[in-house]
Symmetry: none
Subunit: 130 residues, 2 copies
DNA sequence: CACGCATATTCTGATTGAGGTATATACAAG
DNA sequence: CTTGTATATACCTCAATCAGAATATGCGTG
């Protein structure tokens, strides 16, 4: 199963969101999401096969935690649209900045729009030649 | 249909990627993706209903272009994991620091001192439910 | 009006994936 | 060894969805 299909499932997104804070056992997920245990296990199986999570064994328990890979790929696909958005909504553009260099920057307070962000390609109104 | 399911479809992602550069007619999408016309129209219908794209009428043609909303929501969901990634990398570095203590290892590129690292913010629950 | 082009819709069959229930495996403790 | 707990898997059924073919609609032009 492919990464985008994996996160199309609300329960799986819920599990991933839970695991963002800390690693959890199956039982803890089961309780927090109020979802039958076989369902949790099945979703975890899928998530593990796709590399979203990994598990370590602790006696009878399995402790699941996030793995960054697949979600980063999804994020990479979204990257191409961020430029497009900034042309429409510039409130979101700072959040873009912070991704890889956030820790070096003092908190930006400036509210001005239209900075270094390039506009999307000029689009033809009619641009058909055929 | 819900946003995450929409982009689970490879053809729809391809269409969205095409539209990032400029608006296109159905026929242009059909040719660029080498996909039968009814398929294109059906996917566009779904994308339009979900607010990913919008269309304007130009004689017999329809010109489709991106709308930012739904993709932004997806991006917003991913936001919570970006914090995790940086924390994860930091934790890995700290771990390696301990493992390789006193050994010679290639000097890593500038790393902030352990104490200075911005910690992930305390989790505020943004409700994602089934 | 009739034709042709661009796009949309409908129908069908096949596949896939989710939920539920029951059961299997693994381990810890008495 | 027996029991209880934690997790995984198997099996079944149902609903959703995709691809493909055929057909319908809308519009400009001769």
């Amino acid at each position: 199963m492919e990464s985008f299909e994996i996160i199309a499932e609300p329960s799986r997104r819920a599990i991933l969101s839970l695991l963002v804070s800390s690693q959890l056992s199956v039982g803890e997920i089961e309780r927090q999401l109020r979802m039958p245990q076989p369902a949790v296990s099945k979703h975890l199986r899928i998530l593990r096969d796709a590399g979203f999570v990994e598990a370590t064994v602790d006696a009878q328990r399995r402790l699941y935690r996030l793995k960054p890979g697949p979600l980063q790929e999804i994020d990479a696909w979204l990257q191409q649209f961020r430029r497009f958005w900034s042309a429409h909504i510039d409130a979101l553009e700072r959040h873009l900045d912070r991704m890889y260099q956030g820790r070096n920057r003092p908190a930006p307070k400036e509210r001005t729009a239209t900075k270094k962000v390039a506009r999307a390609k000029p689009q033809d109104h009619q641009g058909e030649k055929k």
